[in-house]
């Protein structure tokens, strides 16, 4: 759309710039605080604290397995729900999708006590499993809506050529679905990296906690040294910032395809 008057154009630009300044302010605050008193040595001190690499390591381990498991499951399921005909399809799909509505907090009691009986507290697999379960509904919606747009003729043609369903899935559909799988991977990473409530509930041992627990840990362990606390915040945001810079198009697309059923 074009704005006709020069004054209008100016006002629009000023309005947008002003909003951008407000939007960047909290991030500016974070950087500024991270340099407080000791400057960059806050970062060095944070990185040298043996606990910090442990938090980062745990986060990467959890995110890696969370992504691998959920994307594998989802690729099969999205293809199945979108392109195959079988009894109970609608029911099963809605069963998974209903998970979207569930607040995580409403399931911490069963998860906590069940994991406790299975010795799954303070273990990677307990956290990974729960993260996967909460991501599957959203991921399914995202990838399935992409499969829905792929023409069925591709499949039918391959079928006539004698390909099995598994071959069609693997050789034809997977390469085509790459953008959707990439989008889901990015969302899975962000969900896992930023997960807070599940870590707070399951991981009482700092040696097993992920990066979202680092600030609490540093506040308690280094009491009264906000510089290092904010340095740790900047450091744990770096991977998400990098992801954002490279993949924001995917994220924006995913936002809309995920929302429109």
């Amino acid at each position: 759309m074009e704005i006709q008057t020069k004054k209008g154009r100016w006002l629009t630009n000023i309005g947008l710039s002003l909003m951008a300044v407000i939007w960047l302010f909290p991030i500016f605050v974070m950087f500024k605080e991270s340099l407080r008193v000791n400057g960059f040595s806050n970062y060095i001190a944070t990185l040298q604290n043996p606990n910090f690499p442990q938090f980062v390591f745990n986060s990467f381990i959890v995110a890696f397995f969370m992504i691998t498991i959920s994307i594998t499951f989802l690729a099969f399921a999205a293809f199945g729900f979108s392109k195959l005909q079988f009894a109970g399809k609608r029911l099963l799909f809605n069963l998974v999708l209903a998970g979207l509505m569930l607040p995580v907090a409403s399931l911490i009691v069963p998860l906590f006590f069940t994991l406790r009986t299975l010795d799954g507290l303070n273990s990677y697999w307990g956290l990974i499993g729960a993260e996967v379960a909460f991501f599957l509904p959203f991921g399914l919606m995202l990838i399935k809506s992409y499969f829905d747009e792929l023409p069925n003729e591709l499949m039918e043609a391959a079928h006539i050529d004698g390909a099995t369903t598994l071959q069609i899935f693997y050789k034809i559909m997977m390469p085509l679905a790459k953008p959707a799988l990439a989008t889901a991977t990015i969302y899975a990473f962000l969900n896992s990296w930023n997960e807070y409530l599940l870590v707070l509930t399951f991981m009482t041992d700092p040696a097993k906690q992920t990066v979202t627990m680092a600030p609490t840990f540093f506040t308690e362990a280094l009491g009264g040294d906000p510089g290092k606390l904010y340095a740790s915040l900047v450091l744990i945001s770096l991977p998400t910032m990098v992801f954002y810079i490279f993949f924001q198009r995917f994220l924006q697309k995913g936002m809309t395809s995920g929302a429109v059923k």
Binding site: T12, M101, A133, N194, Y196
Partner: protein, 318 residues
Amino acid sequence: MQQATELKEDGQPVLTTVPPKQPDPMKKKAQLKKNLVGWAFVAPTVLFVIAFIYYGIFYNAYHSFFSWDGISFEKVFVGFDNFARMFRDPEFYSALKNTGIFTVLTVSVQAGIGLVLAYLLHTKGAGRTFFKSVFFFPVVLSPVVLGAAFSQIYDFQFGYINEFLRAVGLGALAQNWLGDQDVALYSIILINIFQWTGSSMIMYYMAMLAIEREVFEAANIDGAGFWRTLWSVVFPNLKGTTFTLTILGVIGGLKTFDIVWISTQGGPGNSTEVISTYLFRKSMLHQEVGYASALAVILLIIALSITYFQTRVQKKMD
């Protein structure tokens, strides 16, 4: 589904002009195979969701009839006592009310700002992509990070807002943003709005791309001004998006935990307690597991009612 041309499993097309009345054993077998293949593809996802989510729902429902501290082996059956207690529990109502305020304000303000930003981004001019990136950015940030950044901004003594107010001679307006019972909830809502406005903006932005150019041009010819066009031409065309955002926002409101817990842990007093934080407190800190299960059941019923309402409305809109 009956199609004119069906494929047998060996890949040979077979013409079936009229669906046979008698169940053909060959076809039955083919159908069974189809089912098995389909189930195999979706099984990992479905079973995983059942194991974690549906098992949890039954676990909650069962334990909501017991009094249990989560530690001892003994669980005392109390019938509907937990639910009866809930309806007499002022803290529950307060959490419910706070969740309501949180949701209504988040949904409406976020949609409003998102709409205006999306509209402004649609104008021709420099740096539109950059602006879009900036507004969308907080979506990827961890609530831990935002909570900490805003605690600096909100701090009573040295916080940026109060320092600014004092500097311009409005020191009387300085607040203890996160420490005052009357203000804290709204301060947290603002953080939440800051984080999620970008997603509303993107959704409106994408939807606006789909509005025909002619619609704008017609409005222009009719002499409708810039804002007038937004209100009476663009906004009515985005009903579907507004509805989606409302539902997502309501569900998001019910789910809210992180930013509240990180900013205030539900305090001061219980002025920022929402349902999720109350549930967490009762189950993990107060060892009232039976009661927390009952809270979870109610939370679930609220979420499901909203979903039901959504599907009803969506059907009507289509």
